[in-house]
Amino acid sequence: EDETKEEEGPFEQLTVFHDADNFNVKHPLMNKWTLWFTKPPSGKGGNDWSDLLKEVVTFDSVEEFWGIYNNITKTSELPPKSDYHLFKQGVRPEWEDTQNKNGGKWAYQFKEKRNVQIDELWLHVMLAAIGETLESDDAKEVMGVVVNVRKAFYRIGVWTRTMGKGAGKNEALMEIGKRFKEVLKLKERDMVEFSGHTDSAHSGSTRAKAKYTV
């Protein structure tokens, strides 16, 4: 039964756990991911959104993720009006991106900042994204995840490709909401909310809002 090792030939797969400085295989991710950062406005002009939104790094292995995470500012140390966005490569973390225009986001706002383990929560959401456990196999809905640092709260969100309209689509979207809520370890009564990007963009309009809660 254990013939596979012989078929591998002389190549011995050594992971970072076998030898941290001498490994020869890394753990590939299903997608390439790009980390973005939104700088807070400086108050001196030059504060277009496009100037403030910076592409930090793109990666596609578990090892690279940890190299980045272990050497980047923690969310709890960021000033207000900062965001981290972790999106699939090729998708800008903006609702104006054509790939996001029909989509929306699941989000939860943490209001008591001092009592929130934001670094751990954001890490777990990123791990669920890159480990591909936020959605079931064929959903292909998740575009990225985001954490917003604001004066009075933190907010974590999951962006989806669609607003879950149509057969099977709604189930896929609700499943993401449920898994997201589990990752955040929220109590049953704490609701995560879904809203469509266009509804947020035109808030105040009379159109019906696509809004769900889990």
């Binding site: 400085d21 295989v25 050497n71 960021l78």
Partner: protein
Amino acid sequence: LQIKTTEPALPSAQLTALRSARPLENLKSLAYPEGIQSPNPALNPMANATKFKYDKEFLMQFQNVFTEKPSLDWDQRMKETVGDTESARPSTAR
């Protein structure tokens, strides 16, 4: 034996290994060292898969194992994107 180089132009042994490492192709043929938990097999039911899903417990095991900066220009890149983190750090005493 020089364990930690201070030369910024030289990649660490860990970064060198990362650069030449090839993507793992067959999760099932891999034996992790004792004490390391494999990815949850229920997440990767296809025997011929070459890309994998990973559970949080598996991923967390890397946290203290891969710690090097992921590129030689990392500090510069941080300065240009996330910014000066020292000045961004809020005072802890309130």
